[in-house]
């Protein structure tokens, strides 16, 4: 079984999104979870101009665009069982569109409480519950919950919340992530540095709070990892990395697996630099956690994560020309989508280069990557021959 490091090293750009009239930062990427025969797979990208663009995955052509105007959209997620795409809006709603239909108005609207400004959200693995986090308004930073189930009767109606948690954060809730397989577990992260884990099956907020982990900084990204997804990792806005193991909540072992205040100071990059972290990638098959970071010039670094620290494994270059803000790894075909402040959406795929490009700009990118791949390809070719 090829390790993810090898797969990553063998990636090269196969497609680059065509420049659009309005260059924006590409802040978030999600791909549709449902594969429909004969239909193109979809990619949804959160843009800094406050819109969500839907692309076709293979050709990276813009199919349609949805807007939260005048509010700003935060986060982008496809449902697990259909091609509905969701995003949280600063106007106090979570919006849902059908990604396959060019209809401006959301097909479903989830309304929060007065003065809610949503800056993060997630939908759980069985598409039953949506949870959105708010900015701190007066003294409150909330986690608001809705029933996400849609049936033909209540389509196009606005949904009110099921309830909210208000006691567990003291500043902007910047991240919400549901557990990948348990529909009742959710973790929230905030600018107050706290990472709270809840079992929403339990009635009241206090009892639903399973544990609180403290990053002491401001949380920018959280994720689940480990066998059975019982571990949580988090990154902070000042480039810290923290990793906790919930398996040890009831044992004598410490919950903290790794605690790095500033990864830029401790990761050995040899000649290169690490300017920021982008996110984490847990690979189920090999039970490995990887951290993805980058440089301000657009290089992408893959780091392996173990209890002894982060180790730089490999890098991708020749792609982005500026800070990389988002990525999405597809387990099915080992492809990687990356989005940056250079307004580019790139599709990277493993293996040898088969096609040539027709566009001049793409050719430039291809040749620089091709050069790099040649250096490694002897090795990978030998490996494949042995198999």
């Amino acid at each position: 079984m090829e390790k993810i490091e090898e797969q990553f090293a063998n990636l090269h750009i196969v497609k680059c999104s065509l420049g659009t009239k309005e260059p924006t930062y590409l802040l978030g990427i999600d791909t549709s979870k449902t594969v429909q025969a004969g239909k193109e797979n979809l990619v949804a990208v959160l843009c800094s101009n406050g819109s969500i663009r839907i692309y076709g995955k293979e050709r990276l052509n813009v199919l349609r665009e949805f807007s939260g105007y005048p509010g700003l959209l935060n986060g982008v997620r496809f449902a697990n069982s259909c091609d509905s795409v969701y995003s949280a809006c600063t106007d106090g709603t979570v919006k849902c569109w059908d990604a396959r239909v060019a209809r401006e108005k959301p097909v479903q609207l989830f309304k929060g409480y007065p003065s809610n400004i949503f800056i993060s959200f997630d939908i759980n693995c069985n598409d039953h519950i949506i949870c959105a986090g708010t900015e701190k308004v007066d003294d409150d930073a909330l986690l608001v919950f809705w029933d996400a189930r849609m049936n033909s009767q209540n389509l196009s109606t606005t949904k009110d919340p099921l309830g909210a948690y208000s006691e567990t954060h003291s500043d902007d809730v910047t991240q919400v992530r549901f557990h990948p397989s348990n529909p009742n577990m959710v973790v929230s992260g905030s600018s107050d540095g706290l990472v709270n884990v809840f079992d929403i099956n339990i009635d009241n907020e206090e009892d639903a709070l399973v544990t609180t982990c403290n990053s002491i900084s401001s949380v920018s990204c959280i994720g689940w990892s480990g066998k059975g997804y019982k571990q949580i990792y988090c990154m902070t806005h000042d480039e810290g990395f923290y990793w906790w193991d919930l398996n040890h909540l009831d044992t004598d072992e410490p919950v903290t697996r790794l605690n790095i205040q500033d990864v830029r100071e401790v990761v050995n990059m040899k000649e290169d630099a690490l300017d920021y972290l982008i996110g984490g990638l847990y690979h189920e098959k090999t039970d490995t956690l990887h951290v993805i970071g980058g440089t301000n010039k657009g290089r992408i670094h893959l780091m392996n994560c173990s209890m002894s620290g982060l180790t730089h494994v490999t890098s991708l270059q020749g792609g982005h020309a500026a800070t990389v803000r988002s990525f999405c790894w597809n387990v099915q075909d080992d492809s990687l989508l990356t989005g940056g402040e250079d307004a580019q959406l790139l599709l990277w795929k493993p293996g040898a280069i088969e096609k040539t490009f027709t566009k001049k700009e793409s050719m430039k990118i291809a040749s620089s990557v091709h050069q790099r791949v040649r250096v490694h390809s002897n090795d990978s070719y030998k490996r494949r021959k042995k198999q």
Partner: protein, 201 residues
């Protein structure tokens, strides 16, 4: 930082701040803060400017830290549960101290038995591991500051060397966060609570 803010400029600014304070005797200990204003930074698009910084000297000497320790024979869960029964007590505890430290095993208990009182107050404990020097950790807690556009980096009773060191630490971290570093900084000043800002950049 030395290329943009020379050592001399920093020392001069610190002397001005300290001298300004000596002239006017205040009834309280003035804090020295660093103020940064950014340019070409779009909070809508750019990465959030946020975090914490650990300074060398204790920026707020009157900062009280409550250390929650687990004793071998103490049933900490029971004790916390009893405390939780009276929400007002938890609130009082949160108000009484500026920060909390607790061992790993106690932190595990806190969410379950003490409830979210400390979360809401913004005073959830930091981790105190067994092999860490408690005193050192308390000092660290006292010196950890939340980063924002104006952050407390010291007080007027510190020596100029101590202030210069901590301001240097703070500025280095503050400037490393925006992607274009110094290019994103419009201005950088230090000031004591009641005085005018002294510009560094």
């Amino acid at each position: 930082m030395s290329s943009k803010v020379s050592r001399d400029t920093l020392y001069e600014a610190v002397w001005e701040v300290l001298r300004g304070n000596q002239h006017k005797h205040r009834k309280f200990l003035e804090t020295v803060e660093s103020q940064i204003s950014l340019k070409n930074y779009d909070p809508q698009k750019d990465k959030r400017f946020s975090g914490t910084i650990r300074l060398k000297s204790t920026a707020r000497p009157k900062f009280s830290v409550c250390v929650l320790e687990d004793q071998q024979h103490c049933d900490e869960a029971k004790a916390l549960k009893k405390l939780n029964e009276n929400k007002k007590l938890v609130k009082k505890l949160a108000k009484k101290y500026d920060a909390f430290l607790a061992s790993g095993s106690l932190i595990k208990q806190i969410s379950r038995n003490l409830g979210p009182g400390l979360n809401k107050a913004g005073k959830f404990p930091s981790l105190l591991t067994h092999n860490e020097n408690t005193v050192a950790k308390v000092d660290e807690a006292k010196s950890t500051k939340v980063l924002c556009l104006a952050v407390a980096v010291g007080h007027v009773k510190m020596t100029d060397d101590e202030l210069v060191y901590d301001i240097h630490l703070a500025v280095t971290l503050l400037v490393s966060l925006p992607k274009k570093n110094w290019w994103n900084v419009r201005a950088l000043c230090i000031k004591s609570t009641m005085a005018k800002p002294q510009c560094l950049y």
